[in-house]
């Protein structure tokens, strides 16, 4: 519903129009993909997101009951196990996704920000997982934190990021770093949707005909120019 044509555009309208212009709904949630997207390697991106969903879900349940709950209840241990295995799968899928995109040279065609947002997500995820390991409140967290402190202290990071301080690590693990990871993953997905799936590398032996889309029928299958 609009307040009326010709009226001075409010900040809200400007934001909405800029958002829709940058990311029309059909671009954000397309119902079609290029035909070259027909390999199992494409599954690992969405599997990584799915693992993140399970991590957040199981982590939320663990967070609702507090950090000690999983040590003394069977149901708590169950959700901790779900959380652990989802994390292991998250990294497994993400590393395969990363290697797959590397060997696809997926940064081509102005997609360098897509690659960079993905790799930064990978690195921040390592920090998020690490703060989880040192927040377990068991022997594993005792050992990992006392070993990891030296590397962090050597760079000065330990002055303000104290891995021996459970309260600080727990806050990083359940709030600060998940927010960063979710924000980065969201940005990554939006960038993928904005730029599209990277077309295949041209085959040298096919020359110009090796380019993606060469030989495509004109008309129905052809894409409109970008706005």
């Amino acid at each position: 519903m609009s307040a009326g044509a010709g009226a001075k555009k409010s900040w809200t309208v400007r934001l909405r129009e800029a958002g829709v212009a940058a990311m029309p709904p059909e671009r954000l949630l397309p119902d079609g993909q290029p035909t070259y997207m027909s390999s199992w390697i494409y599954v690992f991106g969405v599997l990584t997101i799915a693992a993140l969903v399970v991590i957040i879900g199981s982590g939320t349940i663990l967070g609702l009951k507090g950090p000690a709950w999983w040590h003394y209840t069977g149901i708590g241990h169950f959700f901790n196990s779900i959380h652990l295995w989802a994390v292991e799968m998250f990294f497994f899928f993400m590393v395969i996704h990363l290697w797959g995109k590397f060997f696809m040279a997926a940064w081509r065609g102005g997609r360098s920000r897509v690659w960079m947002s993905g790799t930064i997500t990978f690195l921040v995820s390592i920090a998020a997982a690490f703060t989880g390991y040192v927040s377990q409140q068991n022997f594993d967290s005792q050992w990992i934190s006392t070993q990891a402190k030296d590397g962090l202290n050597s760079t000065g990071i330990g002055a303000f990021f104290n891995v021996l301080n459970f309260g600080q690590m727990y806050t990083y693990h359940v709030l600060l770093l998940p927010v960063v990871v979710i924000a980065l993953v969201s940005a990554h997905i939006l960038l993928v949707r904005r730029h599209g799936i990277v077309p295949p590398l041209p085959l040298p032996e096919l020359g110009a005909q090796g380019l993606a889309g060469a030989g495509a029928p004109s008309g129905a299958g052809a894409a409109e120019p970008a706005p």
Binding site: Q33, L84, A105, I144, G151, L203, Q209, A212
Partner: protein
């Protein structure tokens, strides 16, 4: 047909738009199915493998299991020779920290978690013992003695601990010698630790609620209890350290490269290994982020053509189009039409 290797600029231009066919695809359904698959896998792993949860060590447990090691550590905290006592920033000024060239990041950031090992690990806990005049006198005698005398006592006591015997109730007997007031102090400290009171003393600060275990963990890390358990669990640095998990569970395997450097020279024996490894990993992390801009690295996908396998169906179709209906290689419009072409989303056509 003349074949020429495309430049990076041409590759970028070619990848900035796509004019080819599309197929129907349901992203939301794909995500839903993926979540179901991952949740099911997590459930199966949970049912069959559960997750590890080794109970944490406590000072009480350590002092009961390894009372001689506990006393060794306590004396080293008292005479300022322990790992924590000589650490430097961020715990004290007794060491300069690790250095790379002229960069002293560890000392530049200063002492943010101050720890006085003699005060925090010996004097303060002993001060909590109520109504013991002998102990009070022993502590006063030690504190008021010259450093040279204190060193004589602590050295003699540490040497005696090598010949110590542990009796049934967990107390430690050492040969007679000139240890000054140390036996009184250390015996009381051991009793305090074995009772469990020491664990609480190390957490005591100015407020009721506690979440900071810095003092406790540093004290226990100076001793042998944590390392002994870690060795049994294959968690020592030379055993690929903290990328492993207790038991036979996969740990932080994504830290393999970080842990790898500690296994080789010069890092495995360097006093500055931590800062050197962190620096290398920092450089490699930045390089990973900047792969699209690093000549040579960004060309690896063309040199190792895994992409030919990934997009094999697409290339097969292109070859068939290029061959044409008569197989004369003239290309053109004779290729097979795409399956179920649909309207392309603007995403795929976006020019960057």
């Amino acid at each position: 047909m003349k074949r020429r290797r495309l430049s990076n600029a041409e590759l970028n231009e070619a990848a900035s738009h796509y004019d080819g066919p599309y197929k129907p695809y349901d992203l939301v359904k794909e995500l839903f199915v993926a979540i179901c698959v991952v949740a099911t896998l997590a459930l199966l792993f949970t049912v069959f493998f559960s997750s590890p949860d080794e109970k944490p060590s406590t000072v009480a447990q350590w002092s009961r299991d390894l009372p001689v090691d506990f006393l060794n550590t306590a004396v080293s905290e008292l005479d300022g020779t322990s790992g924590t006592a000589t650490y430097g920033p961020p715990y004290n000024h007794n060491g300069e920290g690790q250095i790379v060239w002229f960069i002293h990041l560890q000392s530049w950031l200063g002492v943010s978690h101050p720890i006085n090992t003699a005060q925090d690990y010996v004097y303060s806990p002993l001060a909590t013992v109520p109504g013991d005049p002998l102990l009070r006198a022993a502590v006063a005698e030690y504190r008021e003695s010259p450093a040279k005398v204190q060193a004589t006592w602590t050295n003699a006591y540490l040497a005696a601990l090598v010949k110590a015997t542990v009796v049934g109730n967990g107390s430690v007997l050492i040969p007679k010698g000139n240890y000054g007031p140390l036996p009184t102090m250390m015996n009381e400290l051991l009793t305090l630790a074995q009772s469990g009171a020491f664990d609480g003393d190390l957490l005591t600060s100015d407020q009721f609620y506690q979440t900071d275990y810095t003092k406790s963990l540093l004290f226990m890390a100076d001793g042998g209890e944590l390392a002994a358990r870690a060795q049994a669990q294959h968690l020592l640095g030379e055993q690929w350290g903290m990328m492993n998990e207790t038991g036979s569970y996969p740990g932080q395997v994504w830290l393999w490269l970080y842990t790898f450097w500690y296994q080789i020279q010069p890092f495995s024996t360097s006093d500055n290994a931590d800062v050197l490894v962190m620096m290398i990993m920092g450089v490699l992390s930045v390089a990973l982020i900047l792969v699209p801009f690093i000549p040579g690295v960004r060309d690896i996908p063309r040199w190792i053509p895994i992409y030919r396998y990934i997009w094999r169906d697409h290339y097969r179709e292109l070859r068939s189009v290029a061959a044409g209906p008569s197989g004369d290689g003239s290309g053109g419009s004779g290729g097979p039409p795409p399956a179920d072409p649909v309207s392309p989303p603007p995403a795929a056509a976006a020019s960057t």
